[in-house]
Amino acid sequence: MKKKDFLIAGAVLLLAGVLTLVLRLSGGDPGGAVQVKIDGKVVGTYALVEEQAVPFDTDYGHNLLVIRDGKAHMEEADCPDHYCMEQGEIEKTGETLVCLPHKLVVEVVSGESSDVDVVAK
């Protein structure tokens, strides 16, 4: 009988553990990804592990987002200033690429956490 008690207790503990794990994972970290918003609306989420080139063509204009080696950068853009192409590569949570004229924002939503909260620039 004692053995069975422990088994039950063990099973409940295991269940609690699994439940916690599921809860954490569902709210947490499925690996790095970038979320793309145009004019405030989310138009897509793209995994950073996957090498890909994603074009965005809207009434505002054209942008080509490239993901390579776990980082994202703006490869092409027909905006007048091209600042989005000069913002380097992003990989850590919260980092962004912004194309102001096209109202397009690429943000790392779940990735390696950053050492800083925000970068002043």
């Binding site: 008690d5 916690t20 809860l23 924002v105 050492d115």
Partner: protein
């Protein structure tokens, strides 16, 4: 006995399960509430924590849109556009506050901060991205209009009159700092004790992070967009960086940046590649970041020594040397351990 064991074991297991669940709930409560928007020619994010966060960030977004509509030189319906069109006029509460701050900065910086630089900025195309190096004669003519000291400002009547035809003002040099301060004020009014505002790289913090530690604000490396100069830990501060790297264009192999020296009408060439101001006053921090960039190291250090109670700074010189003032000596840590850092007392 058997029964008791069983009950205890089950109870223990339940307590375990509950504590796990509670833990993940507590974490949820500290989730930030964020909103983002495009305003003042930049991308903005406002973030607040706690139970008042939702209302506070909504209120903040409203305020930022209102200030954008009020202060944008490019929007015909804005108050600033009307002032420029009519050669002055009545000032609203916000523009009155801004003009007062602008004129104080004009005085304290020895005329380096000048909101009447607008006609010169226009010639360079920095106002509408039609970049070009202006003809010398045009520049000389536009420079004639630059003189904030000639603005006929009546603080009591809250009016301003421009003396000359063609004079125009732009609060762009302090507008974002003023806006981030307004957001922090709104956060406070709404009962928020922890939040952070990022207006296109102009940062201001309220309180500490919900976990009770200071905010960690990186400072952009002007030479490499993927790197930082260092980190400033802080609470209740505006952290504003200016540098030639932010906005520039190239013509005939020469790079021209957007921080124009009102003395010469040309991009400042003072030996600094960026200036970061840390201050409780966002408006001041914004205005000083460009002004001290124009001044260069020697004058900037001199200015700080006279006004050290109001702000601290990190200067990045073109040889890579960092100049850090006493008040943030402990709070600042350079990203490159081998960097030459000069501390000013």
């Amino acid at each position: 006995m058997n029964h008791l064991n069983k009950t205890i074991a089950l109870l223990l297991a339940l307590v375990f399960a509950m504590s796990f669940l509670l833990c993940s709930c507590a974490e949820k409560e500290e989730e930030p509430v964020s909103r983002d928007l495009f305003a003042m020619d930049t991308y903005m994010t406002v973030t607040a924590y706690g139970k008042h966060a939702e209302k506070a960030v909504d209120e903040a977004v409203r305020e930022l849109n209102r200030l954008d509509a009020l202060l944008s030189t490019g929007k015909e319906a804005s108050e600033v556009a009307a002032l420029n069109k009519n050669g002055g006029g009545d000032l609203s509460k916000d523009t009155n506050t801004l003009l007062k701050a602008a004129l104080e900065l004009y005085k304290s910086t020895g005329h380096v901060f000048d909101i009447t630089i607008y006609p010169v900025m226009k010639l360079w195309g920095f106002t509408d991205q039609n970049y070009k190096v202006p003809a010398k004669e045009d520049l000389a003519e536009a420079l004639q209009l630059v003189d904030a000291g000639a603005l006929d400002y009546d603080a009591d009547a809250k009016t301003v009159a421009f003396e000359k035809e063609g004079v125009a003002v732009d609060f762009g040099g302090i507008a974002k700092g003023y806006a981030s301060s307004r957001v922090i004020e709104i956060f406070r009014e709404q009962g928020v004790t922890s939040g952070i505002v990022n207006l296109g790289g102009n940062v201001q913090t309220l309180g500490q992070k919900p976990d009770g530690t200071d905010w960690r604000i990186g400072i952009q490396d002007p030479e490499d967009e993927d790197k930082m100069l260092g980190v400033v830990t802080n609470h209740d501060k505006a952290i504003i960086t200016s540098g030639g790297y932010e906005r520039n264009f190239e013509e005939d192999g020469v790079v021209y940046h957007h921080i124009i020296d009102p003395e010469t009408g040309y991009p400042a060439d003072s030996g600094l590649t960026s200036v970061t101001i840390v201050s409780e006053d966002g408006t001041l921090a914004d205005g000083l970041s460009t002004s001290l960039f124009i001044m260069g190291k020697a004058k900037a250090v001199n200015y700080w020594q006279k006004h050290f109670k109001e702000f601290d700074m990190v200067l990045c010189c073109d040889d890579g040397t960092l100049v850090v003032t006493e008040g943030i000596r402990e709070a600042f840590s350079p990203a490159d351990e081998d960097a030459t850092v000069e501390y000013i007392e």
